[in-house]
C-alpha cells in the first residue's frame, strides 16, 4: 500500500514552553486508511493534527525535530498552499472556522483562494454541499444555522478542495446529539468511497470505532498504544487509566471475558457485542428479574423550583418556551435533555432569573423571580456555565472565588471561610494565590465550580460540564456533583451525554420545541424509544443492548454496565 502520511520521530515544542508537546511520534498511514486518535485533554492531539497539515511548523511558532511527509512532500520545505491542497483539516469549533457571511461563500472560500474557475467552482461547491446534506442552504446566513449545520458546512468547504487526506480534529465535541450524528453519517459516507485517507481525533468512542480501522492512544505527547480497533481494547483497564473512554459494550464484554463467560475475542461495535452477549448466554436463561424501585415516588419533599405555564419569547420574537409546567423538588438530581434550540438552556436560565418569564411564573424557594434581585437569586441558585473562561477574570483564584460572596454582601471573615471551604471541596486550596489562567482547562473548570459553591446555593444548575472532556475529568466532576447531591443540594444537569444521565440523574426532563416532551424517572425515560427518537435522542449504548436482547428476557430499563453484567453472570 502507498504511504500517504509518514511521520518520523516528530518532536514539537511551542514557543516559550519548556515541555515538548509531541515526543518522538512515529506513524505511517496508507492510502484510504482511517485512523482514530484518542487520548486525554492535553495529550497533543490537536498539535499532531496541525503538524499533519503543515500549519506546524510553518505558521505556529515553536521548535521542531524529525520529519513529516505528506503525499511525498516534506512539510518543512513545501509551500503551505501546496500541502493543503492535499490535506483538508476540520477543526473543533464550528463558530470560529466559519469566516464568510453565507454558506455559498464559505464553501467556495478555499476554491477562490486557489483561483478555481467560477463554473467549476460552482459544480464543486454543489457537490460538496450534497455530500454533507446541506444543498439548498447556499444562501443562508451563519446566524441561521445550528452548530451541526455549521460544522457540516465547514466539512463541505474542506471537501470542495478535493483533499486526499482528511484530518478531523474533534469534529463533534461542540455539537448536540443530532449534530454529532449528522457529522458521523457524513464520515461513514466518505469512508464508503475509499479514496480518502482519514485521521479522526474524537472523544465519542462508540461512534469512532464504527468508522476507523486503527486506533492510536496519545498520552503526554507520546504514542503509547497503536493497534487495530479489535485489538486496541485488549486491556480495557489500561486504556481507561490513560483517560480514554471505552464503548460500554466493550467494557461489558471485557468483564465477561475476565469472569470466563466469553472467549478471548472482545467486540467493539454494537452488532458484534450483541452477538457476543448472545453467545455468552447461550441457551441458558436469566435467573433473576430485577425489580427496580420507582425513583420519583420517594420525593414528598418541598418544591425547590416551580414553573407555572411558563412562556418565554426572546426580544427578536423567537418563542423559546411554550407553556412549561414543572416542579423540581429539594434534593432531586434532574437531567434536562434536548437538542440545541429545544429551549432547555432557556428554561434553566429562567430558573436563575437571568431571563424573566414573558408570561407565567417561576418560583424559586417560594420567591417569584420577577420580584427578586439578581443578588437574592444568586444566593439560592448557582449556575455553572459550559465555558469556564467566560467567567474567570480575577487576578488570583481566591479573588475569583470571593467575587460571588462579596456580591452577596457577606463580611470578609465569612467570605474567607467560604473561599477556603469551596476551594477545599474542589481540591484547589493550595493554589489559592495563583492566577486562574496559569492552569489547564480542567482546573479552570474546578475554579469556576468552586466560585459558585462559595455562594452556597441550595440548587445547582450545570450546563454541559463534560463536552470534550476526558474520562478522568468527567469522573472527578460527576463525583463532585454526586457528593453535593448527597449533602441535599438539588442538581439540574444539562447535557447531551446519555451515559452520564443514566449513571447519575434520577429524573429526566426532555424539552422539545419549547415544551416538555417527557418527564419521567431515568429508568423509565430510557425505555421510551419512540419519544426519545422524536427529540433525536438515543438511550445509552448499554440500554440499547439490553433492549436488543429483550427476547432473552432482558428488562428494557437497564442503565449501567454494572447492571447488565450482574444480569448476565447470573444465568443458569
Amino acid at each position: 500500500m502507498k504511504r500517504e502520511i509518514v511521520i518520523e520521530d516528530l518532536w514539537w515544542r511551542y514557543k516559550d514552553r519548556q515541555e515538548w508537546a509531541l515526543k518522538g511520534i512515529n506513524l505511517k498511514v496508507g492510502t484510504g486508511e482511517a485512523i482514530g486518535i484518542v487520548g486525554p485533554v492535553g495529550a497533543g492531539k490537536t498539535t499532531l493534527c496541525l503538524a499533519l497539515c503543515g500549519l506546524i511548523p510553518q505558521e505556529v511558532q515553536g521548535e521542531m525535530k524529525g520529519m513529516v511527509t505528506i503525499s511525498g512532500m516534506d512539510t518543512r520545505s513545501t509551500e503551505l498552499r501546496d500541502i493543503i491542497q492535499k490535506v483538508g483539516i476540520l477543526f473543533q469549533d464550528p463558530e470560529s472556522q466559519f469566516v464568510s457571511m453565507s454558506v455559498l461563500d464559505e464553501v467556495a472560500y478555499g476554491l477562490e483562494n486557489f483561483g478555481c474557475p467560477p463554473e467549476e467552482m460552482l459544480t464543486r461547491v454543489k457537490q460538496a454541499l450534497k455530500i454533507v446534506g446541506m444543498n439548498g442552504y447556499e444562501e443562508k446566513h451563519p446566524l441561521e444555522l445550528s452548530g451541526g449545520q455549521k460544522q457540516r458546512v465547514a466539512l463541505a468547504s474542506v471537501l470542495a478542495l478535493h483533499p486526499r487526506i482528511l484530518v478531523l480534529d474533534e469534529p463533534t465535541s461542540n455539537l448536540d446529539p443530532i449534530g454529532k450524528e449528522e457529522i458521523f453519517s457524513v464520515i461513514h459516507e466518505l469512508k464508503a468511497r475509499q479514496d480518502t485517507t482519514t485521521i479522526i481525533v474524537e472523544n465519542n468512542i462508540e461512534e469512532l470505532v464504527e468508522v476507523v480501522e486503527h486506533l492510536i492512544l496519545l498520552h503526554e505527547g507520546e504514542v503509547i498504544c497503536q493497534a487495530s480497533v479489535g485489538n486496541f481494547f485488549k486491556d480495557v483497564d489500561f486504556v481507561k487509566k490513560k483517560g480514554v473512554w471505552v464503548p460500554q459494550v466493550t467494557e461489558l464484554c471485557y468483564r465477561l471475558l475476565k469472569s470466563g463467560f466469553l472467549e478471548a475475542h472482545i467486540p467493539v461495535t454494537f452488532d458484534n457485542a450483541q452477538t457476543a452477549a448472545r453467545e455468552a448466554i447461550g441457551d441458558r436463561r436469566l435467573i433473576f428479574q430485577p425489580t427496580y424501585t420507582n425513583q420519583t415516588a420517594c420525593f414528598p419533599s418541598t418544591p425547590a423550583i416551580t414553573a407555572h405555564d411558563l412562556h418565554f419569547i426572546y426580544p427578536d420574537g423567537t418563542a423559546a418556551l411554550l407553556g412549561i409546567d414543572l416542579t423540581i423538588y429539594e434534593g432531586e438530581y434532574v437531567a434536562f435533555l434536548g437538542q440545541n434550540g429545544s429551549g432547555k438552556t432557556t428554561l434553566a436560565k429562567n430558573f436563575i432569573g437571568l431571563f424573566k418569564p414573558t408570561s407565567g411564573a417561576v418560583t424559586i424557594e417560594g420567591v417569584n423571580t420577577r420580584r427578586a434581585s439578581a443578588k437574592e437569586l444568586a444566593s439560592k441558585v448557582g449556575y455553572i456555565f459550559q465555558n469556564p473562561d467566560h467567567q474567570l477574570f480575577c487576578e488570583s483564584i481566591e479573588e475569583e472565588v470571593a467575587f460571588g460572596p462579596r456580591n452577596l454582601g457577606l463580611s470578609e471573615s465569612e467570605t474567607e471561610n467560604r473561599v477556603r471551604e469551596a476551594l477545599k471541596t474542589v481540591g484547589m486550596l493550595q493554589y489559592r494565590k495563583e492566577h486562574p489562567f496559569s492552569f489547564g482547562k480542567a482546573e479552570r473548570q474546578r475554579i469556576a465550580i468552586s466560585s459558585i459553591l462559595a455562594m452556597k446555593p441550595r440548587i445547582i444548575i450545570v450546563d454541559e460540564p463534560t463536552a470534550g472532556q476526558d474520562i478522568g475529568l468527567v469522573k472527578t466532576l460527576m463525583g463532585l456533583l454526586d457528593g453535593l447531591n448527597k449533602e441535599g443540594k438539588t442538581i439540574i444537569l444539562i447535557t447531551s451525554d446519555m451515559r452520564l444521565v443514566a449513571e447519575h440523574a434520577k429524573r429526566v426532563v426532555i424539552i422539545h420545541q419549547g415544551k416538555i416532551l417527557l418527564d419521567a424517572p431515568t429508568r423509565i425515560a430510557f425505555t421510551k424509544a419512540q419519544l426519545l427518537a422524536q427529540a433525536a435522542l438515543k438511550p445509552p449504548q448499554i440500554s440499547r443492548l439490553a433492549q436488543a436482547l429483550s427476547d432473552l428476557g432482558f428488562p428494557s430499563g437497564i442503565l449501567t454496565t454494572d447492571e447488565m453484567y450482574d444480569l448476565i453472570i447470573n444465568v443458569r
Binding site: L50, C53, L55, E59, L80, I84, G88, I89, F91, E95, S96, Q97, F98, V99, S100, M101, S102, L104, D105, A108, Y109, G110, L111, E112, N113, F114, G115, C116, P117, P118, E119, M121, L122, V125, E138, E139, K140, H141, P142, L143, A154, V158, L161, I352, A374, K375, A378, Y383, F385, N387, D389, H390, Q391, F393, F403, G404, N407, F437, I452, M455
Partner: protein, 276 residues
C-alpha cells in the same frame, strides 16, 4: 454562476439588520448599484441647502422606503434610534450656530444666538440627516453582508481590505454572543450593574478580560481555519463565485442618479439651492 440578484427560495432573507422579503424590488438591483445609490443620495442631501429641494429629496427617499417593504415592527425600532441621532445633531446646530437674521430670539451665554434663519437652517439640517439616514437604513435592511463584500470586491479594492471587512462583519456576531454569555456568567454570581459611573466602568472593565481572552482564542482558531484553506495575502490569482449582474433596473437607477447629481451640482454652481 450565482448572482446576487438571483431569486432566493427562502421566504425571508437575512440582511445586515433584519429580514426582508425576497420579492422586494430592491432585490432586482445589484448591491454595487445600491451602494452607489446610498453614496449619491447622501452627497446630494448635503449639497442642497434649500428647504423645498430637501423636502423633495426626502419624498423620493420615502418612495424608495415604501418599495423596500421593510418589516414595520423593525422599522419602528430603527426609527427611534435615528430620531435620537437626529435630535442630537439638530440641537447641536441650534445651540452652536451663528447665523445672522432679522430678529434674534435667544442669545446663549457662550455667545451664539438663535434667529429666524437659524430655525430655517436647523430644519434643513434635520431634513438632510433624515434623508441620508433613511437611505442608509433601506440599504442595510435590504442588502446582505455577503453582497456588500461582493460589491467591494468588484470595486477592485485590495483583497486584504475586502477580506478584513467580511471577517469583521462575521466576528461582530460571534463576539456579541460571547459578550452575552460573559455578562450572564457574572450576573449568575450576583453582580449587578449598579453604583456610581466609576463603579460601573470598573465592572465593565472586569468583563472585558474574559472577552479579550475568548476573542483572542477565536481569532487564532479562525486564522488556522483560513490558512488551512489557502488564505494568503500575497498576489495570487483569485476567482469569485459570485458575479455582479447588471440588468435594466440597475441602468435606469444609475442614469437617474447621475442626472440628479449633475443637476444638483450645476444648480449649486449657479447659486440656486444655496442657503443665503
Amino acid at each position: 454562476m450565482v448572482c446576487c440578484a438571483s431569486p432566493i427560495a427562502a421566504t425571508k432573507v437575512r440582511s445586515f439588520l433584519f429580514y426582508f422579503s425576497p420579492d422586494s424590488p430592491c432585490q432586482k438591483i445589484n448591491p454595487l448599484t445600491k451602494l452607489i445609490t446610498v453614496l449619491i443620495v447622501g452627497t446630494v442631501a448635503f449639497i442642497i441647502e434649500n428647504i423645498y429641494a430637501n423636502l423633495i429629496l426626502l419624498v423620493i427617499v420615502c418612495i424608495g422606503l415604501a418599495m423596500a417593504r421593510i418589516s414595520s415592527r423593525f422599522f419602528k425600532m430603527a426609527l427611534i434610534g435615528i430620531s435620537g441621532l437626529l435630535l442630537v445633531s439638530t440641537v447641536a446646530h441650534a445651540l452652536f450656530s451663528q447665523i445672522p437674521g432679522e430678529s434674534v430670539y435667544l442669545v446663549f451665554p457662550w455667545g451664539t444666538y438663535i434667529t429666524e434663519r437659524t430655525i430655517h437652517f436647523v430644519v434643513i439640517v434635520y431634513l438632510r440627516f433624515l434623508a441620508a439616514s433613511l437611505i442608509t437604513l433601506i440599504f442595510l435592511c435590504t442588502t446582505r453582508e455577503t453582497d456588500v463584500v461582493t460589491a467591494l470586491r468588484f470595486l477592485r479594492l485590495p483583497y486584504a481590505v475586502c477580506f478584513v471587512c467580511s471577517l469583521s462583519l462575521r466576528f461582530i456576531s460571534i463576539l456579541v454572543d460571547d459578550w452575552w454569555s460573559i455578562v450572564q456568567a457574572q450576573r449568575a454570581r450576583g453582580m449587578e450593574f449598579k453604583g456610581t459611573l466609576i463603579a460601573r466602568l470598573k465592572k465593565l472593565l472586569g468583563l472585558s478580560l474574559p472577552m479579550i481572552t475568548s476573542a483572542f482564542r477565536k481569532v487564532n482558531d479562525s486564522n488556522h481555519a483560513i490558512l488551512a484553506r489557502g488564505f494568503t495575502l500575497s498576489n495570487v490569482r483569485r476567482t469569485q463565485i459570485r458575479q455582479l449582474r447588471w440588468s435594466t433596473p440597475d441602468y435606469i437607477l444609475l442614469t437617474l442618479l447621475t442626472i440628479l447629481l449633475m443637476a444638483v451640482i450645476i444648480a449649486k454652481y449657479y447659486g440656486y439651492l444655496t442657503f443665503v
